[in-house]
Structures are given as structure tokens and as C-alpha cells.
């Protein structure tokens, strides 16, 4: 394996499991925090997470400032951010907790930028001298799977993208008690997104640290996704309720999703992940989530870009475990890995009565739509940041067709 020149940085510490929340005051206070500003989303409301957060801070001597979950009546994103900024600075807070996934973590990161670097950062953008500056302590507490971006070092604020190593959360704390009930589609979207990021990193990164994180992420998903979703016989019977019994599995998926965020912070070229997001935004179908699309592309991307390489063969190890890997002859391992990935889609297609697509065709994207998307991929500049060349784009177009 070529190990020439790589860098890897994961700034976040992961705290996972039983009574993890009770560690938070100690951890935050170790970073000098005394007054904690808590941002939360509606999912955190439904899991009643504040009910668990409050006692976790009992006896800690710390103060919590609880923001209400932002809703449609709260105004635009900028209004909410301004409101948070005023309250944060006016009342002297010194640290941030984001309780929830997706937009709430972007808000928390934007707030951290504003209070640490000054609100003018949104006008001037991130400057080289900002790279060395410390931001205030920031803890991310997922209540659902998430997209993985929550734990990365990137924030999206009013269509502006900010990227800074210090934007990654200092702490990613996953506690089963915080897990909110979620739709199966959302769970699958999170899990498939994370799986795509972890698998691609595992195969393409010449970087043992990233591979180690990816391997753990894949194993977590392989062990906890099926028990979570296969137990319900009727897919549509309880669409939005994955109950307390499965909180541990949900927490593992949220944990894997956070791991995928650490990997996203170290790699820009996760093709299936980007392609999934591209299709979810551009295809004329409402049912296809970015995660599902990424999972459809993943086996094809691996085939197209990794072929029958040892790196792809090695992927069988986290996907199938040591016993499966040892049982399969080396020449068949790459194919076996692809087979497992495809089989995941096939099984979900079956247990979801066709709700989870196995291919773009299942998702209602016909060949003419694929052709239009292929054209768009060639034209648009969406691959600039991933560093994928023209030849790579041709391969991506081929992936699209085969998917």
C-alpha cells in the first residue's frame, strides 16, 4: 500500500453510551466553560432531551441557557442567528451545545463563528489568520442519525459555506436517552450516507487513521441497521415510530454518522456521497433521499473506480467480518464486498415493499432523465471541490448509467 504523504485530523472527541450525558459538564468545564448556550431542534423536543440534559448538569454549578427550537415563525436564518448572537453575548455565555441534527448544528457553528471571530466574519469570510484561532467550546449531541456533516468542519449559513478545522465540534456525545423516534426513511438515509462515506474512504484513502475510523463506522452500521429495521414486519404499519427498544441501535447509527462526518472533514472526494446529494437535488423524483441515492451509487462507484483492487477486497473485512473474509478466496473478496453492498439494497427493497429503491429505475428515474443528469454532471462545476478530473467525470457518468 502506498502510504506516501497524508495528513489526518479529527478534532472531535466521541463520547458514546450509557450515562454519557453526565460526562458533559466535566468535559465542558475542562475547556473553561461555565455558561452553556443550548440550541435544539424539534426532534430534540420530541425525545424530551431537555428532561435528560437538566439533571445531567445538576450539581455541576454550570448555567444552561435554553433556546426554543426554531420554527417557521422565527423568521429567516439570519434573524435567528442575530437573535442568538445578541442573547449569547448579552448574557455572557461561553460555550455551545447543539442538540439535534442538520440545520441546528449549522446554526450552532455559525453562532460560534460569530461570537468567536466577530459577526463581520460573514461579510469578510474566513481569512488565513482565522485558521489558528480557537473557537468557543462546542458540543454536538445528535438526536437522530443526521447527515454526517454535523460533525465535519463545515458550516452552511444562508447559502454561504464556511470551512475551518476549529468548526468541528469539540465533543460529539451520543447518549441513547437523547435519541428521538424517527421515520425509517430518515434512518436509512442517515445510515446509507454514512455507509457510503465510510466505504469509499476505506477503499480510496491511503491513510490508516481514516481507514480505522471508516472500518469502525462500517461495522457499527452493519451490526445495527438491520436489527433496527428488520424487526418490523410491516413497513408501513408504524412509519414514524422506532421506539425506546431500539434506541441503542439508533445511537449506533448516529455514532456511525458522526464518524462519517470526521471522514468528510478529511476528504473532499467521496463520490457516491456527493452524487447522492446531487441527484436528490436535481432529479425529478420526490421519494429519493440523498442517502438512498448514495447507497445506489456506492457499489457502482467502487466497481468503476477501484475495480478488482486489494483495497476493494479488504472492504469485505468490515462489511462481512473476520469469519466471512477468511472464508472467501482472495480473488473473490472484491466481488463479495460489492455483493454485500448490493444485497443490503435488495433486502431493504424487499422489507420496505419497494419504498427503498435498489436502482435509479426503482426510484422513478428513467433513461432519458439519466441522460439529462449525465449532461448536467459534465456541465456543472459541482466536482471542482472534489478534485475529480474530466476522465473521472466520464466515469461518474458511467456510474449514473449503470445505477
Amino acid at each position: 500500500m502506498n502510504t506516501d504523504n497524508f495528513t489526518f485530523l479529527c478534532r472531535s472527541r466521541s463520547l458514546f453510551g450509557k450515562n454519557a450525558l453526565e460526562h458533559l459538564p466535566f468535559e465542558l468545564s475542562g475547556m473553561g466553560a461555565r455558561k452553556v448556550f443550548v440550541l435544539r431542534d424539534n426532534a430534540s423536543e420530541s425525545s424530551d432531551s431537555i428532561r435528560h440534559l437538566r439533571p445531567a448538569f445538576a450539581d455541576s454549578g454550570m448555567t444552561l441557557g435554553l433556546c426554543p427550537p426554531p420554527d417557521q415563525n422565527s423568521g429567516t436564518g439570519t434573524d435567528i442567528l442575530k437573535d442568538c448572537y445578541r442573547t449569547f453575548t448579552g448574557k455572557g455565555y461561553d460555550s455551545i451545545i447543539a442538540l439535534g441534527t442538520g440545520p441546528i448544528t449549522d446554526l450552532a457553528k455559525a453562532l460560534n463563528l460569530a461570537v468567536s471571530l466577530g459577526p463581520e466574519v460573514f461579510k469578510r469570510g474566513i481569512q488565513p489568520q482565522d485558521q489558528a484561532k480557537s473557537l468557543l467550546p462546542f458540543a454536538y449531541l445528535p438526536t437522530r442519525g443526521g447527515s454526517g456533516r454535523e460533525s465535519s468542519c463545515r458550516a452552511c449559513c444562508n447559502a454561504q459555506i464556511f470551512e475551518l478545522p476549529a468548526l468541528a465540534p469539540d465533543i460529539v456525545l451520543t447518549d441513547e436517552r437523547l435519541m428521538a423516534a424517527d421515520t425509517k426513511e430518515n434512518i436509512i438515509c442517515s445510515a446509507f450516507s454514512a455507509l457510503s462515506v465510510c466505504c469509499e474512504t476505506f477503499v480510496f484513502a491511503d491513510n490508516p487513521m481514516a481507514k480505522a475510523y471508516a472500518s469502525a463506522g462500517i461495522s457499527l452500521l452493519m451490526e445495527h441497521l438491520f436489527p433496527l429495521l428488520e424487526t418490523e414486519n410491516e413497513w408501513n404499519a408504524r412509519p414514524a415510530a422506532v421506539g425506546n427498544k431500539y434506541r441503542r441501535n439508533l445511537a449506533c447509527i448516529a455514532h456511525a454518522s458522526a464518524i462519517s462526518g470526521f471522514l468528510l472533514a478529511n476528504s473532499t472526494s467521496i463520490i457516491s456521497f456527493h452524487l447522492g446529494n446531487f441527484i436528490a437535488e436535481n432529479a425529478d423524483t420526490s421519494g429519493l433521499t440523498a442517502g438512498s441515492a448514495a447507497a445506489i451509487f456506492l457499489p457502482r462507484v467502487l466497481e468503476q473506480f477501484a475495480g478488482n483492487t486489494p483495497a476493494l477486497a479488504q472492504l469485505l473485512l468490515p462489511l462481512g467480518g473476520q469469519d466471512a473474509f477468511s472464508a472467501v478466496p482472495p480473488v473473490q473478496q472484491a466481488a463479495a464486498a460489492i455483493h454485500i453492498l448490493q444485497n443490503i439494497l435488495n433486502r431493504f427493497y424487499q422489507i420496505s415493499f419497494g419504498a427503498v429503491p435498489r436502482s435509479l429505475g426503482d426510484a422513478g428515474i428513467d433513461k432519458s432523465a439519466v441522460a439529462r443528469l449525465q449532461e448536467k454532471i459534465q456541465q456543472e462545476d459541482i466536482w471542482t471541490e472534489t478534485g475529480i478530473s474530466g476522465a473521472g467525470r466520464d466515469k461518474i457518468a458511467a456510474v449514473l448509467l449503470r445505477s
Binding site: S29, D59, M62, L64, G65, C67, D83, T87
Partner: protein, 176 residues
């Protein structure tokens, strides 16, 4: 900001009460064991004069202080950290973790493995303090419960299990 609330989470009265009682019992039991049990005596003999150690919860939760006085006598010294210097602090990261430890739902090794415990001070004496607390837990608890609290239940003589245990329990109750 509409709907914003600022709270300072309250102390948990019953948890703290339980911990105070347990720490008092444990502290007095260590004092008693130091007078009765040869192994505990040996551990304390290896500590310097006036050496004190504490077991408590972060940041200022319930705690107990044990120490040797100038005559080398082991004493339970209450819980006031400001009254005497504490040379070795064993601190649980939260009152909740301390509660799990002292309700024996999480043993000392498990609590330590889960990074719930921090030690500030001389590590050899911290090891000695943990061994002392293990022995005292064997004296205080029924066998099935002690097995949950420590790694390996010791093979003691019949006298140690009966006579010495009775002595430790009586001294703990009477506080001498």
C-alpha cells in the same frame, strides 16, 4: 429572544443524601478496618504521616476524607476539603456516576474503565486506596453484592470473615 430560558440545574437532594450517608459509613468502616485488618494496616503504614486522601464527586459533590494523623492513626476526617490539605483526590466526574458506584450498579473497575473516575496525586497511593476500599467493601457487603463491586472476591480465613468482620461492623456503627 422569545422563549429563551436560563436555568441553573438544581442539586439532587436524595442522591446527595444517599451519598453522604454511604460515605459516612464507608469512611468509618475504613477507619475501623485500619484498626482491625492486617492488610489494611499494611497499606496505611506505607503511606507517609499526615497523608490524606479523598473520594468525591466533581465539582463539589459529596466527599469523604481519610487520613493519617501525626501519630500515624487512621481517621475518617469528614468532608470539609478546606479544613485539611488533601494529598490524593479520587473524583467521580458526576454525582450520578458516584451514585452508580456507591449503589454497586457499577463496580470500581468498570467505573474506572468507563473513564468516570479521575485521580489527582500519587498513583501508588491511589492503588493502595482502591485496595483498601475493596477490602472494606468485602467486610461491609454480603458476598453477592461485594462480588459486583470488586474484580475478585478474596479467599479469606474463617476468622477474618467472621470475627474481624464483626469487629469492623461494630466499630463502624459506634464510630471508633
Amino acid at each position: 429572544m422569545e422563549g429563551f430560558i436560563e436555568i441553573r440545574p438544581r442539586r439532587r437532594f436524595f442522591l446527595r443524601l444517599y451519598l453522604h450517608i454511604m460515605l459516612r459509613v464507608l469512611g468509618r468502616a475504613i477507619q475501623a478496618a485500619a484498626r482491625v485488618d492486617e492488610d489494611v494496616k499494611k497499606e496505611f503504614n506505607a503511606m507517609p504521616e499526615n497523608y490524606t486522601f479523598s473520594l468525591g464527586a466533581f465539582p463539589a459533590g459529596p466527599c469523604m476524607i481519610i487520613g493519617k494523623d501525626t501519630q500515624g492513626i487512621v481517621r475518617y476526617m469528614g468532608s470539609d476539603m478546606e479544613k485539611q490539605p488533601v494529598h490524593l483526590k479520587i473524583t467521580l466526574k458526576s454525582v450520578r456516576h458516584f451514585f452508580s458506584l456507591l449503589t454497586f450498579t457499577e463496580s470500581t473497575p468498570v467505573s474506572n474503565a468507563r473513564n468516570r473516575m479521575i485521580v489527582s496525586g500519587d498513583v501508588p497511593y491511589a492503588c493502595a486506596a482502591v485496595r483498601i476500599m475493596d477490602i472494606v467493601q468485602v467486610y461491609l457487603l454480603p458476598r453477592w453484592m461485594a462480588k459486583m463491586a470488586i474484580k475478585r472476591y478474596p479467599r479469606w480465613t474463617f476468622k477474618r470473615h467472621t470475627v474481624d468482620r464483626a469487629k469492623v461492623l461494630i466499630r463502624t456503627l459506634l464510630g471508633f
